[in-house]
């Protein structure tokens, strides 16, 4: 069964025309809305590569029916720094920290982790080591062993602290 509907992604209304209602949000973002930042590593909610924010909650886009996200605010990695499609040169503090600390290798898990770390730090500005590890434990990374990713989180925490004190 197909239908046309509209999704609000990164602050913009996007039309999905004649889409099968069984399609996941991940599929619709990647294949219908030209937003391939959310990745498809397991498509069963185990790896976190497809993490996006829906109304401020971190979810696996592979487990959400796209049509059920109508009238919600969807933010993808392309929009996390404020742009619509990631083409903006501006990086978020978390994105910048990932680059500075060497947290990126192959980069396949990176968009999901960027989203998970944003979600954590927006809720918990000064997390403990275990809180960070638990928060990102739904995001599998096979390259880094998580060491540089943890460093990137601390760098982002510090930069937000400085921002608050300034």
């Amino acid at each position: 069964m197909s239908a046309s509907y509209s999704l609000r992604v990164n602050g913009r209304d996007r039309e999905v025309s004649d889409g099968w209602l069984g399609e996941s949000l991940l599929w619709v973002l990647r294949e219908r809305l030209d937003l391939p930042g959310a990745k498809n590593a397991c498509e069963q909610g185990e790896c976190g590569s497809c993490s996006v924010l829906i109304d401020g909650s971190l979810v696996c886009a592979c487990l959400v029916l796209a049509a059920s996200a109508v009238d919600r605010d969807i933010v993808t990695v392309e929009g996390i720094a404020g742009a619509v499609d990631g083409s903006d040169a501006v990086l978020s503090d978390v994105q910048e920290a990932f680059l500075a600390e060497g947290a990126v290798q192959c980069g396949f898990c990176t968009p999901g982790l960027i989203m998970a770390v944003h979600d954590l730090l927006d809720r918990v500005p000064l997390p403990t080591d275990l809180e960070v590890r638990e928060a990102i434990s739904g995001n599998l990374c096979r390259c880094t062993g998580y060491g540089r990713i943890m460093e990137a989180v601390w760098t982002a925490v510090r930069s937000r602290q400085v921002g608050r004190e300034a």
């Binding site: 099968w20 990647r30 030209d34 937003l35 391939p36 930042g37 959310a38 990745k39 498809n40 590593a41 397991c42 498509e43 069963q44 185990e46 790896c47 590569s49 993808t76 990695v77 392309e78 720094a81 499609d85 990631g86 083409s87 990086l91 994105q95 990932f98 680059l99 500075a100 600390e101 060497g102 990126v104 290798q105 192959c106 980069g107 396949f108 898990c109 990176t110 968009p111 960027i114 275990l130 960070v132 590890r133 638990e134 990102i136 434990s137 739904g138 995001n139 599998l140 990374c141 096979r142 390259c143 880094t144 062993g145 998580y146 060491g147 540089r148 990713i149 943890m150």
Partner: protein, 783 residues
């Protein structure tokens, strides 16, 4: 969208950056060798703009899907494709009969059918493929194909596979390779003898990006394939052979690679999507699901290893006997080379005057096995390090002292008779790791529940948690061995201070793109280095494996840049009327050496950017490493180029009742030659260590009678951030390696080798159990 040299396909309407932003340099420094320069592909990767092979799109594109055998061994009585053809939107359905060229493929030996024919030999073997307008249509078409199988009893025990009377699974027989290493007085017996049989389970590389690619036919019967791979040219050769096309008509382009670790060294879907694209005349994309990925690539060989070590009473090893059986699964892949590595490095970096070793790589109806990070050395390291600890106990010697007593050094002979001429700082690696101060760690009773074994399950009783410490040492060869003509090609083009370098080296996440820019800046004194796309329009770079690309393709880029540098200096020398030998490049300026020395004469001082306006300098160079040689019938010969050593010390907490393990801390030292990019090196050390920890405590593909039981990330577990402790790097031992560009050894594999046995040694220390098998399972501890 067709033909050589076209732009990469993109997702429609979105600009995707495949390669690089050449201007990204660390804020401080010059972006040269030795600095923690940032990755040039980092920005698009954190923004979600980097084009992985699964992100590609082309006008009129179809989706491919693969039908796989549900049986590990069966005869195909018939295949009925009519059901698939009846589904609207299906454009192609192909089987073995549709392969126009070579019907079999393989990286070392072409023994695997492109599609199964007459028989299937492993669970998941491709039988047919489909192209359709939508991936769901393709998947439905696959289900509509009816294959009539006569189910046969699979041969899944390698000992049975090679036993007399067992029928061959394949016309080539059931033995991939028999490898003997015999040296010294094999009749000698030690004062103290320890013996053990050890097992390593089947590990999956589990790169986060599954296999995917996009094939685009051209108007001239040729094809362009955008693919995530480790070795473009090896794929090109195999694809062209099976398509029945000359290699020039099969152009491969590296698409963004979501990790590799050995899983992408063999062909998976490459030939299938090219056949579908040529058959339909339309672009075809295929993306494996995670489940399919477990069937679609080779794995780390499961191994069963018997060892007997002989030593004098004061702890000197006098002889090692061993028999190592590696289960290669249904097809050859790289089993032969994996077995050679496993056997050559089976005694560790220790002085062993006599050996009597037999290695066997065997064909079974299990999943095919081949390359994975560590390539054979991982399995035998698990065995030899268990033996060293056992020997230390039998002798009553401290295990670190025993290792130091037997440690090899430069000038010593390997068990293959080869004298190690390069750096081999075994003692420094052992000492710096073993003697590193133990970080302050909370005791189990003082730890939060989340930090105890069982973690989020909150199952552990802290009072019943026991802590253990273990140590292990490993080594491995760098680059290809046994006489393989191993080389890499690179080009450099310099114009007005902008250098463009090109190599077919597969960037799989390791950071070669960063090093390529660092090397170019270092040699040429330029700021701007553009990396041209990696493709088969230039000569081979060889595989991104065997810890070889920094040395091989880094070396090729260095050579090409040096040739260009010489051309540039010759041009400037002629313009100024000075000798080339008098010119140097310092701080991005071409300057006279004699002026710096205070001598008189014409002084040149011009920036590299302005030295030759409008004049281009170019070079293409091939870099070969020192020749290696085949091993003789007793496994003797100079088969390897270079060696690298690493050690790990692990601390674990074990819940003895539930058999759960948490790795609390891990310290490592590593022999690296020279550090070229500290941040990237750290990434290799931490990431490699994590994969070793995974093999120690959680990662195993489970097979029952050849059928895979856990092909998903729900059931095949890899370490999360909660499973992975901080990695404490005690020391990166820098002894420059002769013959290596900038003296740097490859660092990709050694962190993976000794981490597994160190963790298992720590679990033995905590539990007092023998634990001869990895991964260690809860019932190995608790029952």
């Amino acid at each position: 969208m067709t033909g050589a040299g076209t732009a990469a396909p993109t997702t429609s309407g979105t600009e995707l950056s495949i390669v690089t932003d050449p201007t990204v340099v660390a804020p401080t420094g010059q972006g040269v060798i030795g600095e923690s320069v940032r990755r040039p592909d980092g920005t698009p990767k954190v923004q979600g703009r980097f084009a992985f092979s699964s992100d590609l799109w082309a006008e009129g594109m179809l989706w491919g899907a693969t039908l796989r055998s549900p049986h590990p061994s069966a005869r195909i009585r018939s295949i009925d494709l009519s059901g698939a053809w009846k589904i609207p939107g299906v454009r192609a359905v192909i089987t073995y009969d549709d392969v126009p060229g070579c019907k079999v493929f393989g990286l070392e030996h072409a023994d695997q059918p492109v599609f199964a024919h007459d028989v299937v030999r492993f669970h998941g073997e491709p039988v047919a493929a489909v192209a359709a307008d939508h991936p769901d249509t393709a998947r439905r078409a696959i289900v509509a194909i009816v294959v009539d199988y006569e189910i046969l009893t699979p041969v899944v025990d390698p000992e049975i596979a090679i036993a007399e009377g067992t029928a061959p699974i394949h016309p080539d027989g059931n033995l991939f390779r028999r490898m003997v290493i015999r040296r010294g007085d094999t009749s000698i017996a030690g004062d103290v003898v320890v013996e053990g049989t050890y097992e390593v389970g089947m590990q999956d590389q589990a790169p986060l990006g599954t296999e995917s690619g996009l094939a685009v036919p051209d108007d001239d019967g040729g094809i362009d394939l955008w693919i995530s791979t480790q070795w473009l040219h090896a794929d090109q050769t195999q694809v062209a052979a099976s398509l029945g096309l000359p290699e020039a008509k099969v152009r491969l382009h590296l698409a963004g690679v979501g990790g590799a670790f050995g899983a992408r060294e063999d062909c998976s879907l490459q030939i299938h999507i090219c056949l579908l694209a040529l058959g339909t005349g339309r672009p075809v994309k295929m993306v494996y699901s995670r489940e399919e990925s477990f069937f679609g690539h080779v794995h780390r060989h499961p191994a069963r290893m018997w060892y007997r070590h002989h030593a004098t009473r004061d702890g000197r090893i006098v002889k090692v006997e061993g028999r190592f059986v590696f289960d290669g699964g249904a097809y050859a892949s790289t089993s032969s080379a994996v077995l050679a590595n496993a056997t050559c490095f089976s005694t560790g970096p220790y002085k062993v005057p006599a050996v009597d070793l037999l290695g066997l790589a065997v064909r079974t109806n299990n999943l095919p096995c081949g390359a994975m990070r560590g390539f054979g050395a991982v399995q035998t390291c698990f065995g030899h390090e268990a033996q060293m600890d056992k020997l230390a106990t039998a002798l009553g010697i401290d295990p670190i002292e025993l290792r130091l007593l037997n440690a090899m050094q430069t000038g010593d002979r390997c068990i293959t008779g080869q004298v190690v001429t390069g750096a081999l700082p075994v003692e420094e690696v052992i000492r710096s790791c073993a003697e590193a101060p133990m970080p302050v760690l909370a005791e189990p009773v003082d730890s939060p529940m989340m930090a105890l074994p069982g973690g989020a399950g909150r199952t552990a009783d802290a009072a019943g948690v026991k802590r253990g410490v273990g140590f292990a040492l490993g080594w491995k060869n760098l680059m290809f061995s046994e006489g393989f003509d191993d080389f890499s090609t690179a080009s450099c083009h310099l114009l007005d201070g902008v250098a463009t370098v090109k190599s077919a080296c597969a960037e799989v996440g390791q950071g070669f793109v960063t090093l390529a820019q660092q090397i170019t800046r270092t040699v040429l004194g330029v700021d701007d280095v553009i990396l041209a796309p990696a493709d088969t329009l230039i000569g081979s770079a060889g595989s991104t494996s065997a810890s070889r690309q920094t040395w091989m393709s880094g070396g090729a880029i260095e050579l090409a840049c040096r040739t260009v540098r010489q051309k540039l200096l010759s041009h400037v020398g002629a313009a100024f009327g000075v000798a080339v030998d008098d010119l140097d490049i310092i701080d991005r300026r071409i300057v006279s050496r004699h002026a710096a020395a205070g001598a008189s004469g014409t002084v040149v001082n011009v920036s590299v950017d302005d030295a030759a306006p409008g004049v281009a300098f170019s070079a293409v160079e091939e870099h070969h490493h020192a020749p290696t040689f085949r091993l003789d019938e007793f496994g003797q010969g100079d088969a390897h180029v270079s060696f690298a050593v690493a050690a790990h010390r692990a601390v674990v907490d074990v819940d003895l009742e539930l058999g759960l393990v948490r790795v609390v801390e891990i310290t490592t030292s590593m022999d690296v030659g020279k550090v070229l990019n500290p941040l990237q090196l750290l990434g290799q050390v931490e990431g490699g260590t994590a994969q070793g920890i995974g093999l120690a405590v959680m990662e195993e593909i489970l097979l029952t009678a050849g059928k895979v039981r856990n092909p998903s990330f729900t059931d095949y577990l890899i370490p999360t951030a909660l499973d992975m402790p901080p990695v404490n790097v005690a020391r990166l031992v820098e002894v420059p390696e002769p013959g290596a560009p900038f003296g740097a050894k490859g660092a990709g594999e050694s962190p993976t080798i000794s981490s597994t046995p160190a963790v298992v040694a720590a679990i033995r220390n905590a539990t007092g159990r023998e634990l001869p098998r990895t991964p260690v399972r809860p019932h190995d501890i608790a029952l």
